[in-house]
Symmetry: C2
Subunit: 362 residues, 2 copies
């Protein structure tokens, strides 16, 4: 039976890159069959209807779909009463507890001074400051406002994210071993780098750190071959820019993971090429890391690569790894050729021309 | 009467770079006179005495000193009962509400592929997650641990940090105008970039954003000539690496500021050259952005440039700008020459040789 996949383009260039990724999925020969269903969400939907995430979207995803592709959501530049980010809500509703963000360099004339790296960021996806538990008070003495947010770190969520990190380190190792040695960027033992700031947040980040460490320590048989190291989040950003080749799998609480993955994207040329998958035990949602890019929306020049790779991640996490690898290879071939690229990569091709080029290599 | 300055080397290379900076201050001809007082703090002090920040250090600083120079503090790699970072505590005790972190490129053979930038990061220095209000519970249903931290953002602190940012934008403009045009890196109108994540934390970062915006909006006469823009913290890190030349003054809540300043340091070659000043209304404490570097401590090869520049910032914020500029110029001259550099910059000079070279240019 076909895979039922929800398509949620949402705002801006999401409406261009999601159809692009859909075309690539539909063209996979010998691959799984798809039954796509189009679903609403986003800031523009909020402006029209008063809700950014209709209950029907949640219901269809939960009850009918195995996975989804999400486009991008616009953030209002001002405070809008009643509006709340649908992507954060979807991650929570579907219990997509790990945000998996691979960032790797691909040899391409588009990236002449590119650093060489092959990193996978696992971002805890359900808590930290993203629980949105906030309140505002007025200091009676001064009449001035004071606001508080709760940052939540649980053993439960930390363990799930940590386990995903160690498992992905092993999976990556297996996939690497299928490649010829000279094509492997990461050449060391698998490694998990735990990001935290426990020198300041000794309780919350202390719990995070200990729980993730315990994943390895409590299962030496399975994870004994995976190195484990730690980085304070500030040094992580520093080191990532100085020696990005030093990282394999990086696991971080939600907000740090958000920041690190945008930073890593800067190292491989463009946010327009970096994919992610929001992964739960029973559902996967692909999502390009880039935003809705209102400045170029509607022009047909958005880079579809992040969305296509996100569709690949979707397949990979639904168990169709071989077809995912085909998609990645086709994208890499287009980048390596370097003649058909969108303007963010210095080219002048349209979204559709890039998709055509990818299809040629499939 | 001389300036009374507390010297707090604390841990690791702090004990090498603080005496180095002291030598430079003492050699300033025609400059202010100094009365230095040596004060204890740090993780090593904690291990010896059970306290990381003796009350006597706080008292001397508060009651006798106009300013201080802080070295670096080691973070224990494991949880240590009763230990808490002395630098965070000092900032709070002395009400040093803004952490001023200039990051600028200097032409030097040590930095062949360096980006060109001239950025000043103003980091709110008293609240956010650094209030260290944390607690741990056990979920009775599962027996698993759950930890919470409070993130505090107040109108009071946001306004002080924001005001510092707009004032520094004007001060930088004045200093720039004293330089010949071709020596100015920033060539646009002064600009303040407000960093936040109000698309997720609409209450806390919403308050931060509005309060900082109001600094300019409520005083168009004074700040009308300063451009104001906003960046979400994740895009900020992305853009900082893609086009660091686009930033003049950047103002951020505590934790974002911590991360951004380490990231910016990666762009100018080494953490070993990036200074900071913790600034309050009645006290200034210079502090290199780097850590205690246990791997090279005691070898006499720590880069003293960040500490020397931090001593310059100390003078600048105590009103001795002309002498601060002399110190910066001497450091820049050593970097431009590029023959006497510590190993972190690819050289083989010792800490003392770099200080000697700086003194020659004073
Ligand atoms: C749009 C925003 C809420 C989101 C996030 O912070 O998670 C985005 O930055 C991302 O990385 O997916
Ligand atoms: C040592 C640590 C507590 C400190 C901080 O996070 O403020 C350091 O990273 C800094 O930037 O001064």
């Amino acid at each position: 039976s076909p895979l039922k996949i929800g398509l949620i383009p949402a705002d801006g260039i999401g409406r261009e890159v999601i159809p692009a990724a859909q075309r690539v999925l539909e063209s996979l020969s010998g691959g799984p069959k798809f039954d796509f269903v189009h679903l609403d969400a986003g800031f523009e939907h909020f402006e029209k209807t008063g809700t950014a995430l209709p209950q029907s979207t949640i219901d269809v995803l939960k009850n009918e779909c195995q996975g989804a592709l999400f486009g991008a959501v616009s953030s209002p530049s001002h405070k809008v009463a009643g509006y709340s980010s649908p992507i954060v809500a979807l991650r929570k509703h579907l219990d997509l507890y790990a945000n998996v963000r691979p960032v790797a360099s691909v040899a391409s004339p588009a990236f002449p001074n590119q650093k060489v790296l092959d990193m996978l960021i696992i971002r805890e996806n359900t808590e930290c400051l993203y629980i949105k538990s906030e309140r505002q008070e007025v200091d009676p003495a001064t009449g001035l406002k004071v606001a508080y947010a709760d940052r939540k770190i649980s053993e439960y969520a930390s363990k799930r994210a940590g386990t995903m990190a160690f498992n992905m380190a092993l999976t990556r190792q297996q996939l690497r071993e299928q490649k010829p040695l000279e094509k492997r960027i990461w050449k060391n033992k698998p490694r998990v780098t735990i990001v935290h700031k426990s020198n300041v947040m000794s309780v919350t980040d202390g719990l995070w750190r200990e729980t993730v460490r315990a994943v390895k320590e409590s299962n030496p048989e399975k994870y004994g071959g995976v190195d484990m190291e730690e980085q304070l989040v500030d040094s992580m950003v520093y080191r990532m820019f100085r020696e990005p080749e030093a990282f394999d799998v990086v696991v971080a609480p939600n907000l740090y993971g958000d920041i690190i993955s945008d930073g890593a994207a800067a190292l491989v040329g463009s946010l327009g090429v970096v994919p992610s998958a929001n992964v739960g035990d029973n559902f996967v949602m692909g999502e390009p890391v880039h935003g809705s890019a209102p400045d170029i929306a509607g022009k047909g020049i958005a880079n579809p690569i992040a969305a296509i790779r996100s569709a690949g991640l979707l397949l990979e996490h639904l168990g169709h790894t071989a077809h995912a690898l085909k998609m990645y290879d086709a994208v890499d071939a287009v980048l390596a050729e370097g003649s058909i690229l969108t303007p963010d990569l210095g080219g002048s091709a349209s979204t559709n021309q890039v998709v055509d080029a990818v299809l040629k290599h499939l």
